[in-house]
Symmetry: C2
Subunit: 917 residues, 2 copies
């Protein structure tokens, strides 16, 4: 046995969390800082890894199967297989020898001996992985007790009742956890004793009762396990095994799957064996938890609670109300001072808000664990800024403490915290925000009701592409099936609607237009509230509120702006979006999609006319009317962004998006026929059907769209360009400073860009300039969203003043994945099978799409060093993608307005991390 498995708290390297686990590492740290820590040692994760070695491959395969979310019977079968494999395992050779050695050292330190009937050493055996998995694994306290040592404990503590109480607690825990005996048996025995002694609470059971209980517990163990183990060493070995096994209990496995905890982050648990201290040895004892700052608000004040005369498990039982830390300060000022000083010391050393567990035994304070405190996003921002201002951390460290996701959560409405409500169901938090609305079950109903001014929530078992119009009409979406990559989740996130998905307890009955949940019946039109940040579903209209944007967030963002190198713009299509974008600090608009301006029915009608025109004249006329309509929007947006660039993309209609489906028209035709409608009406519909059929494309995403439409129907581009330039000209006349950049979509060859410049954009510009009598400044650039554009960037860069990566389309083209189809059909499988780590439409695929971006940037900058290069695909608002985009040297990212803050922060992170390398 060449490997060292066991480390005393004094000797372990507390920075090595992977080896010692989180708990072991914190115990080592506090011990080495000379804090009062009950002595002990850690069995490293290496031991656990060696424990599993004989069956690792098999278990890995089984877990992979579990990750694929098999049906329940299959799942149970796999779990049983895992358990069968594990139950045959033995501790690694030599581990127990090493443990004995350290136990002996511990005994020496404590002046007590393990198994000694006069002065016994008792220990706790606790799990502790590198990543905190609260409640997922097992702990056994008071280990070392048996019929002999319990007497020693009674002697030591001069408290027989205490000793037998500790003994029965140990038996219960050991029986349940280490020997896997059904918990109910112990509970029943306890209840019986309580009845026998007329005890309402456990504490009212007299010593005799506890002794009787101990005998009954031992009988249960003998009965179920075959024998009772009274040798403390035997107990210890079994307990260590049990903790190792708990790493692979189904709870823990599913927790890791759900939270995406990879082997790389944590691949085993350590075991911490520590001298017992007791918080239940009278009123000068107790147990508590303290945060170095308020984890909800971030206030710089100790926060937590203390339960006198209790062990940790009593706090959980909730029988007595604990004291607040403020009360502790009043009642035990010395204790408070020591606690305050030490906790703050830990905060300074660890540069993190601390979450500390402590126990007081007969007036003496012991530290049992410390870790970084889990905080609300709000508290995280405030504490980061405060700690920087206090000099504990640098501004850059403060920035790194706040993740873009935290900021994101600060921007969505939440259930009003002052309202006391319980959710009726919980699903997956698929798209953040809390929102109320009346239940509808069909997307068409959603549209219909929304048009009447109703606020609705679309409730479906699952959603399909055909339902998407319902998403837009609804305030939020709730499904009873599907995961975080289901259609509903993906679409809702995509368009920024709150969504809860996979709320399986909701039973939907489409026919009767209602759903049942936990005995409640909710009918169409009833109000519900969903919180897409938590996954909670409530009945009724629950008040929500927008979180206030705290001053510290502003401060943090300013620091971010100081650090970042990437510019941050927003994708905004409407004046209201532009306003929000400015408020969040966008430095211009990176993408204005004209198509989105056509949501209004009157405009949509005109657009359809443009598309369906059979002659150039017809098209020209419809186009001019349309341009006039949107010119005012252009002007408004340019004015809101005064002094900042506004990139307007020439229309890029994958035509089908604006047309009815052929089979839908056909349906109408037949319905008309069957209802004996007028011949004329039928003929009209038939003409439409024919025209739509002619326009229908096999693959509209790669069809007659973007610049291809500009080439074949330049009049469309002429009309739009004139609208933009007239808006610009009018603002200039009003003394404003509009900065217009015209962007051509779907370019795959320099020739296309040159053609539409020469045959549409420049002629239109000449016309407008003549009309206004002055030169109108504007730039012309192109999306880089086809692969060929990226590969021939050198040629295209000579025709363009700016590039903007359209990574949505570029990702489609790189993978040959149609996003609509992929996210509905096979992407979820790819993610669960592990073929993909991330949805490439959310997080940039570095190897493929990223490679193209690199090639493109390099070629473009070489051919045209002045070219401005940004990104306006969805990835521009994705933190991990932003890191990559920073590294390849883009000029800016453009994100949806609500993601501007996130982008600013992520850009800062990227800059800092680059420096740190």
């Amino acid at each position: 046995m060449s490997r060292k498995y066991v480390y005393d708290f004094e000797e372990g390297d507390w920075r090595n969390k992977k080896l010692l686990g989180g708990k072991g590492s914190s115990l080592a740290q506090m011990t080495q800082l000379n804090f009062p820590v009950p002595p002990g040692f850690t069995i490293s994760t290496d031991a656990c890894i060696d424990f599993y070695k004989p069956v690792k491959d098999k278990i890995d395969n089984l877990i992979r199967e579990l990750a694929r979310n098999p049906p329940p019977e299959k799942r149970d079968k796999i779990i049983r297989e895992i358990w069968d494999l594990i139950n045959k395992l033995d501790l690694p050779d030599g581990l127990m020898d090493e443990v004995r050695l350290h136990m002996d050292r511990l005994a020496e330190k404590m002046g007590r001996r393990f198994g000694d009937k006069d002065n016994p050493l008792l220990v706790s055996v606790r799990s502790g992985a590198a990543v905190s998995m609260p409640g997922m694994m097992d702990t056994i306290l008071n280990l070392g007790l048996n019929d002999d040592t319990v007497k020693g404990l009674a002697k030591q503590t001069s408290d027989e009742r205490f000793a037998y109480d500790a003994y029965r607690r140990f038996l219960q825990m050991f029986g349940r956890i280490a020997l896997e005996i059904d918990e109910k048996l112990f509970d029943e025995a306890l209840e019986e004793i309580k009845r026998e002694y007329n005890a309402k609470y456990d504490v009212e059971i007299p010593v005799e009762g506890l002794k009787k209980l101990v005998e009954r517990y031992k009988n249960i163990i003998r009965d179920k396990y075959g024998k009772f183990i009274d040798d403390p060493w035997g107990q210890l070995e079994i307990a260590i095994k049990a903790v190792f096994r708990s790493w692979m209990n189904p709870r823990a496995i599913f927790y890791r799957i759900a939270n995406n905890i990879t082997e790389d982050m944590a691949n085993a648990t350590a075991v911490n064996i520590q001298t017992m201290v007791f918080g239940n040895m009278g009123e000068d004892s107790g147990t508590g938890v303290v945060f170095s700052r308020n984890p909800a608000t971030g206030e710089n004040k100790l926060y937590g609670e203390f339960l006198p005369n209790a062990q940790g498990e009593d706090v959980v039982a909730g029988i007595r109300t604990p004291l607040s830390i403020d009360e502790l300060k009043t009642r035990f000022p010395r204790l408070y001072d020591e606690l305050y000083e030490k906790v703050k010391q830990l905060e300074r050393v660890n540069k993190e808000v601390q979450d500390v567990e402590f126990t007081v035994e007969r007036g003496k304070l012991y530290f049992l664990q410390t870790r970084a405190g889990k905080m609300t996003p709000l508290a995280r921002v405030k504490t980061a800024v405060d700690m920087a201002l206090e000099g504990i951390i640098t501004r850059e460290e403060a920035l790194l403490k706040v993740s873009p996701e935290h900021v994101l959560q600060l921007l969505y409405p939440t259930i009003d915290p002052n309202v006391d409500v319980k959710p009726v169901a919980k699903g997956l938090a698929a798209s953040p925000g809390a929102v109320s609305g009346r239940v509808v079950f069909h997307p068409d109903t959603a549209v219909e009701w929304a048009n009447k001014g109703e606020e609705v929530i679309l409730v479906r078992v699952e959603t399909k592409p055909d339902d998407v119009h319902g998403f837009y009409a609804s305030k939020g979406v709730l499904t009873s099936r599907g995961g975080l990559t289901s259609h509903a989740a993906v679409v809702a996130r995509g368009i920024g609607k709150p969504a809860v998905v996979g709320a399986e307890m909701i039973k939907i009955d489409y026919e009767r237009k209602m759903f049942k949940v936990n005995g409640h019946i909710v009918k169409e039109g009833d109000w519900i509230t969903i919180d897409g940040s938590t996954g909670c579903v409530y009945i009724g209209k629950i008040p929500t509120k927008m979180p206030e944007l705290i001053e510290e967030l502003d401060t943090l963002m300013k620091w971010a702006d100081d650090v970042r190198k990437l510019g941050v713009r927003a994708n905004a299509d409407l004046p209201e979006d532009a306003m929000i974008a400015r408020k969040f600090g966008a430095e211009g608009i990176g993408l204005l999609r004209i198509e989105r301006m056509f949501r209004k029915p009157k405009r949509l009608e005109k657009l359809r006319k443009v598309i369906l025109s059979e002659s150039r004249e017809e098209r020209l006329e419809a186009m001019e009317e349309l341009a006039e309509m949107i010119k005012h929007d252009f002007k408004e947006i340019l004015e809101i962004m005064d002094g900042y660039p506004v990139i307007i993309r020439l229309i890029d209609p994958p035509l089908h998006e604006f047309l009815p489906r052929p089979d839908e028209i056909l349906k109408e035709i037949y319905e008309l026929k069957m209802s004996n409608a007028s011949e004329e009406l039928i003929r009209e519909k038939e003409a439409l059907y024919k025209r739509v059929l002619a326009l229908t494309e096999a693959n509209p995403m790669m069809g007659h769209r973007g610049v291809r439409v500009g080439v074949t129907y330049p009049e469309i581009y002429v009309g739009l360009t004139k609208a933009m330039l007239e808006a610009t000209a009018e603002l200039i006349k009003e003394g404003k400073n509009p900065i217009l950049e015209i962007m051509v979509p779907q370019v795959s060859m320099a020739e296309e860009l040159r053609y539409v410049k020469e045959n549409a954009i420049y002629p239109a510009a000449r016309e407008v300039e003549e009309k206004y009598g002055f030169k109108i400044p504007f730039k012309v650039g192109t999306m880089i969203e086809t692969v060929r554009a990226a590969l021939t960037a050198d040629e295209i860069a000579k025709e363009a003043e700016f590039f903007s990566f359209g990574t949505n389309d570029l990702t489609q083209a790189t993978f040959s994945f149609s996003r609509d189809d992929a996210e509905n059909k096979f992407l979820p499988d790819y993610l669960t099978l592990g073929l993909l780590q991330d949805n490439p439409f959310q997080t940039l695929d570095i190897k493929g799409v990223g490679e193209l971006i690199k090639i493109c940037v390099e070629k473009a900058r070489k051919a045209n060093p002045d070219i401005e290069i940004g990104i306006c695909g969805e990835h521009g608002g994705d933190p991990r993608s932003i890191h990559f985009l920073h590294r390849v040297g883009l000029d800016y990212v453009s994100a949806s307005p609500y993601r501007v803050l996130i982008a600013r922060l992520a850009a800062a992170h990227a800059a800092i991390k680059e420096k740190l390398q």
Copy 2:
């Protein structure tokens, strides 16, 4: 004037065709070889370029507009504009001075003087560009004649009639060409004289008549031009200008557009001024044309004709039957011997079959021009091989003489040469092959008739995207408008249908469903025959035949095989294709598409069942039945290719291709409803409608297909793999040597390939190997048809034993062009607007797709030096693409069976050209 414009035949560098033009260069060569050539000189193309310089940009723009095939009125307007520009131009400064100098030298050489009334020098003025444009530009003969010199000529020749005949010919040509007087006026005057003198033929007009005619001609000129130019120098200047102008006459412009003659190939015409010799000076004179070998059959024997006592124009008039060269040999053996020797000398020097023009004046042979002979593809192959065997050229030179297009034409049906028919019209040869069918004028009619089993030819003025369904239904396509890049031409070539386009003499009347051509009336339903290799249109059903493959082609191909480095395989899906492929020398199958095996109704039904299955079990069952059906085909093909590799691609169904369209099913449902069909039938259809709707994809090309289906339904891949391996195993048992390579389609990540290997292919292999009891050798590889696969080739190469570029899909993904939609909607526009030079689905886009191929090959070979890399996209049969693929170092190309010969030849060309560099 620093530039030298004029070169005597003795001094010009005959290799510089670009400067001297083809004719000038040949005259220089023959002069310098001491052939009897009437002395003269060449005004170089430089002079013509300088002539056009002042208006070049304007003309270029106008020509570009013409190339876009504008409507007739627009076209006429442009032509007028060009003409207006040109008419104002003057000869470059100093040119005439230089011409005078050389004329004087010529006079000295000849002992005659230009304009001398006693012994006049007469010259011809002929155009001649670097590229031969037969009949496109102008020639003036007998220049130098006027009322005085005609008498001198009479004296010189002692033949007054001859002199006046020459004079009237000159006046007519000069009037028509140089002065642009309507030809009809001269013709009418000639007819009148003939009536007056009762002359049936021109030769019967007596001298007086000719003299009278000369007067009348001069009057016509005076009348139309304002004056008569009798100064020979003035005549000469006007004639030179006229030849320069003829470079830009509409005929010539359209010829260059239609034949894709770029500025690079020929950007001006030279002018050749040469002493006149006369073939019409009696029976010991004459004029002729001779080929050094038979241009139709390639036979090594002089071939051509000789018309005694005639000038070139008389041959065209066709009054007398010329002698064959064989007859010349009998009648003028000395002349024949001299001709033979000189022609063969030219062939040896120029290493080309020669097409020589000669004139005999009073027994003396003069050479007027030589050029490379235009030959039938058959003759081209035979002469190339013969000349190599005779030692005139090397084998490699022989190979280079035959272009892949020549070989291609040898493979298409032609009009049976034994049938004596004349075409009624000639258009552009847009897509090769001769084919007969009944005329239809509407694509819908084409479909309707084709469905009834009729063979039809679609005849349109021009075609549009909406007509494409008619192409598929027709045997061939004929249009009366448009060039070689018109929509009709592009689409027909794209889908391999014979087509003749721009046959302008055909006047189509859609309303009366007929067309007129040269006085014939052809109605809907009448038979016609078109030959897309020649552009000829015939009335009636003319017999066509497949050309016989001559022995020399075989020889040439063997030489090609010796030289080429690229392997050549075939794409073949059925046993009959595999047979053809072997016959044409394919070294294996590069792509077997399983989908194509499902054309048979019973199989298609099963396949639909596989696709529509809602459960794994259902799918598995249908799949196994299907696999059993196709196993026999696999076996047959592997046996045909015994000893050669056969790459079978796992199924890649873009599902929609195998399913009915939703609106079509809906139509059926309503028809059933309206005809009161049984409820059950309707319900069944409705269920199908629902299922198809669920499977319908927004962009099936990028949807749930290829390996994505293999990942989500591995049972499909298992079934297919088993079928392949069982076929292989059975052949092995029979002592054969089947070489199976299994190819996975649509891979975009190494993970996908690994997944289907581990979860479908290898398990299936283990099962079959167990069944047969021996190890079955096979390889696993992947298509490279997604961009990401190319970019991450290093990772994928570690999972694959071979790569095969699927450049069809790769091109789609690179451009983001859906081929179906692009070729119907915007690609024809792109080609006519010049945004694209070639259809990238036919000729590889080097800049984009080519770049990906380069990246991929480099990365793949680095990661896996043993990997075999080929191509199975359509480009594998395209000669220009093959050159590129050779250069990037592919192992083989795979082409459709009929393109295997072409690929072998192109691969040889690539290897030779690489060596020459």
